[in-house]
């Protein structure tokens, strides 16, 4: 068995203001230092990533007058993967009389995350969510409206009120494009210097502070460095480590991982959300799994044939031979149970032989009853583009036959560890959006990811980054000729040369695909000690093979997509091990992290608040050893309780 080297470091603090978490954000903001308008342009801030969090943060800092340098590896700031979120964005505006409130929002978020997130973070998320809708609407996002002209909402998994704002099935796109435009406005105004096709490959740390980044120009291969007063990483989640995920093909963990290698703690890497409504894998050439919005679960009913191995067509199976297992097991939330529960329930059905489709790897999501109740017109208004997308991918019409869905790797709750100010343990390094770990605990509620990215970008970092900057008034950014910059540049060059010089025979994607298989098997919807140990061993073997057999064609001094991928997969091979180590280390089940050894008699996740009520923040030790720090979690407003969606 694999020799796993875990040691334990000291506890860390999230720097949450003392006292009532409900008022923590207001009090914290009052404490923040300010930078006067005339001094702002003297500060340079690097923002990496132009998704909802990154574009929002860069635009907001630009609007305030800071000198912002924004980076994206895409050709345009509009492409970031925030664009693909379909369902909606939550907000605790509580305008309806369905008895929603800030408190309820926090409760849903904290409870949905199975009490493994920071309570005060969730309060900030709820409080700022009100302004997020105003702002995104203000900059042009055409939210769906009632006939009376007011904003309309829908309900989402894990929630009993209706607080999800949306624009058809393309909410992420509308928010992302609005943020992209706000950013372009600042580019035109000259406050933001936007670098496209430029991928961050390292963080420059001097005297323990983040002082800049090293990037590679994807068009020319040129490696360069830029220094600044602070660095913000908003580079997205690492779900693509599973290869077949709902993420975009280019989504990666490289920026975050390289920061981790430079000393930034990585929190809760084992918390990966499997989206219950992804399209099943149907051929080996399939490059990814496609996401179908969870909002489909509002009107669709999930079921499998009562008899295992039933081969009849869906519509030939009579009502009394269908098992609407979510409605049966969780009557209160039924088809709207949180994602982790829905995914695990589907996995169970599939493993018990009730799976449907040619590979028996999916469950039905049926709109027959909704069609009768609402009619085709209403159904199409709500889900038209999703239906079309499904038809397109599968050749089947969801109006006529039930959709087939399966759990797919989707969202990373884990990420770089940050304190309440969204600053990592490296002073000057801030993190926003999915690249960080905040808000979602061990499981994210649907429609909370767009929100957390917006809150970080528009309404948290613009307060907390200046607080850090204010301490450094009068200091110039580190000189690019400084030893530390030169050394970091050399390190990056060495990494690239190393990959180019392996000169084996195997293309990068083969390693990535195999890594995905290992992770789905060992660190997937449910985990156990022996599966995790085996996975770690396989990952290490794969890593050795990678450094022996990899082939990257071309050179490093050109547009070279194979090289880009190789660098990302190299990081995945390290991250994957840490994910398994974290999963192995955490001897409880919590949210999306389901350890088979820790479950109740009726098969539900069993948390262990006595021993595990903390966030694991991992530090990289020498030679693939792992040092775990813990940030203890306390819950004052929301009482610790067992999640019950029955």
């Amino acid at each position: 068995m694999a020799d796993i080297n875990i040691s334990y470091g000291e506890d860390i603090s999230g720097h949450v203001p003392e006292g009532d978490p409900a008022t923590a954000w207001e009090r914290r903001r009052d404490d923040y230092k300010l930078v006067s308008p005339l001094n702002r342009r003297k500060f340079k801030v690097i923002v990496v990533g132009t998704g909802l969090a990154g574009a929002g943060c860069a635009a907001a800092l630009g609007e305030l007058g800071y000198n912002v340098s924004s980076y994206t590896f895409h050709d345009s700031s509009r492409r970031a993967h925030s664009v693909a979120a379909q369902g909606g964005i939550n907000s605790a505006r509580a305008r309806k009389v369905d008895n929603d409130s800030i408190h309820r929002f926090v409760k849903d978020t904290v409870k949905g995350g199975d009490f493994r997130g920071r309570e005060a973070d969730a309060f900030r998320l709820a409080e700022e969510s009100v302004r997020v809708i105003d702002h995104m609407n203000g900059i042009g996002a055409p939210f769906a409206r009632e006939y009376g002209g007011e904003l309309t909402t829908r309900s989402f998994g894990g929630v009993q009120v209706s607080r999800t704002y949306y624009t058809r099935g393309q909410t992420g796109q509308q928010l992302q494009v609005s943020a992209h435009r706000a950013l372009q406005r600042q580019v035109a105004a000259g406050t933001v210097n936007l670098h496209t096709h430029e991928e961050m490959l390292d963080l420059i740390v001097k005297d323990g502070r983040a002082v800049g980044i090293v990037t590679r120009n994807l068009r020319t291969g040129k490696i360069s460095a830029e220094t600044a007063h602070a660095v913000v990483l908003a580079t997205g989640g690492y779900g693509n480590v599973f290869h077949k995920s709902t993420l975009a093909k280019n989504s990666n963990c490289t920026a975050a991982w390289r920061a981790h290698r430079r000393g930034a703690y990585f929190a809760s890497p084992a918390y990966i959300q499997f989206h219950p409504t992804a399209l099943p894998i149907s051929s080996k050439f399939q490059s990814k799994t496609t996401l179908m919005s969870e909002s489909l679960r509002n009107d669709g009913r999930i079921w499998v044939p009562l008899t295992a191995g039933d081969t009849r067509a869906a519509n030939d199976i009579p009502e009394n031979e269908r098992d609407y297992y979510l409605e049966r097991k969780y009557p209160a939330f039924a088809n709207l149970t949180p994602r982790d529960i829905a995914s695990r329930a589907a996995r169970e059905q599939i493993e018990a032989g009730h799976g449907v489709g040619p590979l028996k790897n999916s469950v039905y999501l049926d709109f027959r009853d909704a069609k009768e109740r609402l009619g085709v017109k209403v159904l199409d208004e709500r889900y038209g583009n999703l239906f079309e997308m499904y038809r397109d991918a599968t050749g089947e019409d969801p109006h006529e036959v039930p959709m087939r869905i399966a759990p797919g790797a989707h969202f990373a709750m884990g990420g770089l560890w940050t304190d309440y100010d969204q600053m990592s343990n490296i002073p000057g390094l801030f993190v926003g959006g999915e690249a960080g770990w905040a808000y979602h605990g061990a499981n994210r509620l649907g429609a909370n990811s767009l929100l957390s990215a917006c809150v970080d970008g528009w309404f948290t970092l613009p307060y907390s980054v200046p607080h850090y900057l204010a301490e450094h008034l009068g200091e110039a950014p580190v000189d690019v000729a400084d030893d530390v910059v030169v050394q970091t540049l050399a390190d990056v060059q060495e990494r690239i040369d190393r990959l180019m010089n392996i000169r084996g025979t195997v293309p990068t994607d083969h390693f990535h695909a195999r890594l995905g298989e290992i992770l789905y098997e060992g660190c997937g919807v449910s985990r156990n000690d022996s599966k995790l140990r085996r996975a770690i061993e396989e990952i290490r073997e794969l890593r050795d093979e990678f450094y022996r057999e990899l082939f990257v064609p071309g050179t490093g001094e050109q547009f070279n997509q194979e090289l880009e991928r190789a660098g990302r997969v190299e990081d995945y091979l390290e991250l994957a091990e840490l994910m398994c180590v974290d999963a192995l280390d955490r001897k409880e089940s919590a949210g999306a992290h389901f350890r088979e050894e820790f479950q109740t008699d009726d098969g539900e996740a069993q948390r262990n608040d006595e021993e595990w009520c903390f966030v694991s923040a991992w530090e990289m030790g020498p030679d693939y050893s792992h040092i775990r720090h813990a940030e203890p979690l306390t819950f004052e407003a929301i009482e610790l309780q067992t999640r019950n969606y029955k």
């Binding site: 580019v187 035109a188 210097n193 936007l194 496209t196 096709h197 430029e198 040129k222 360069s224 460095a225």
Partner: protein, 246 residues
């Protein structure tokens, strides 16, 4: 240290085609306005032409009437010349803008021309410059043949005067030449193609945003309009050739 471009890429300097003040939108407005003028003109012209079926007297009287229109407010042929100047200005504007637009289109598309276009609308759109040039040549031919009476006109072309017009005789004489009749006939088909797209595009150029249905209706109406003009005019050379009118 900055790495790449500040603004989204650098704009490759483009060669300015036509004056700067003539924006693409303005050029299209000019083309649309003058296009409408020509559209109405060819329709009225066609109705006038059809008087040929009422016999020489009616036809020649109509021709004379055009010359004496608004007399004595205007001198003989006064209105006609004002109208000709107006049409000439429209033609100049139309042709110049067409050249500017074609040249800009070509430059901005680059060296790889688009192939594999869809449908009738794209066909007529693509052939606008060609049909336009043919029509321009046709107009010159037509003016020489039946207005100026020089060059391509028949030998026994008779100029009209205040006393009377010989438009009918000139027309019959010209169309009795089969090659000329066929040229007129083909020119009308070309006119159809040009008008069908031109009128349809006009609605768009004037900035009238239409839904799918209304757009199809406009396309149909433009086609019908062009068809009526074409068919009305085409009957005449055919009638002359077949001896129906002589």
């Amino acid at each position: 240290m900055s790495t790449t471009s500040v603004r989204a890429g650098t704009r490759t300097p483009q060669k300015q085609i036509g004056p700067r003040w003539l924006s693409n939108v303005l050029a299209k407005y000019i083309m649309a306005f003058t296009g409408i003028v020509f559209g109405v003109f060819v329709l009225v012209h066609m109705f006038g032409n059809l008087k040929v079926y009422l016999g020489p007297e009616h036809f020649n009287d109509y021709a004379l009437w055009l010359r004496t229109l608004l007399e004595p407010l205007l001198p003989y042929e006064g209105f006609l010349w004002l109208f000709r100047l107006f049409l000439l200005a429209c033609l100049a504007g139309h042709v110049y803008c067409a050249w500017v637009i074609s040249a800009r289109a070509k430059a901005r598309r680059g060296k790889f021309a688009r192939k594999g276009l869809h449908g009738f609308s794209s066909f007529t759109a693509r052939t606008m410059p060609v049909t336009g040039i043919v029509l321009l040549l046709f107009i010159i031919f037509h003016l020489l043949d039946l207005t100026a009476g020089i060059g391509v006109a028949t030998e026994n072309f008779q100029h009209g005067s205040e006393a009377g017009s010989f438009a009918y005789q000139n027309l019959i004489a010209s169309f009795s030449r089969p090659a000329v009749a066929i040229f007129y006939l083909l020119a009308m088909v070309i006119l159809f193609l040009h008008l069908a797209h031109g009128l349809y595009a006009t609605v768009n150029d004037f900035g009238i945003t239409l839904g799918q249905k209304a757009r199809s209706t406009v396309m149909l109406l433009s086609g019908l309009f062009a068809l009526v003009v074409m068919l009305g005019n085409i009957t005449i050379p055919i009638a002359v050739l077949t001896g129906l009118v002589s």
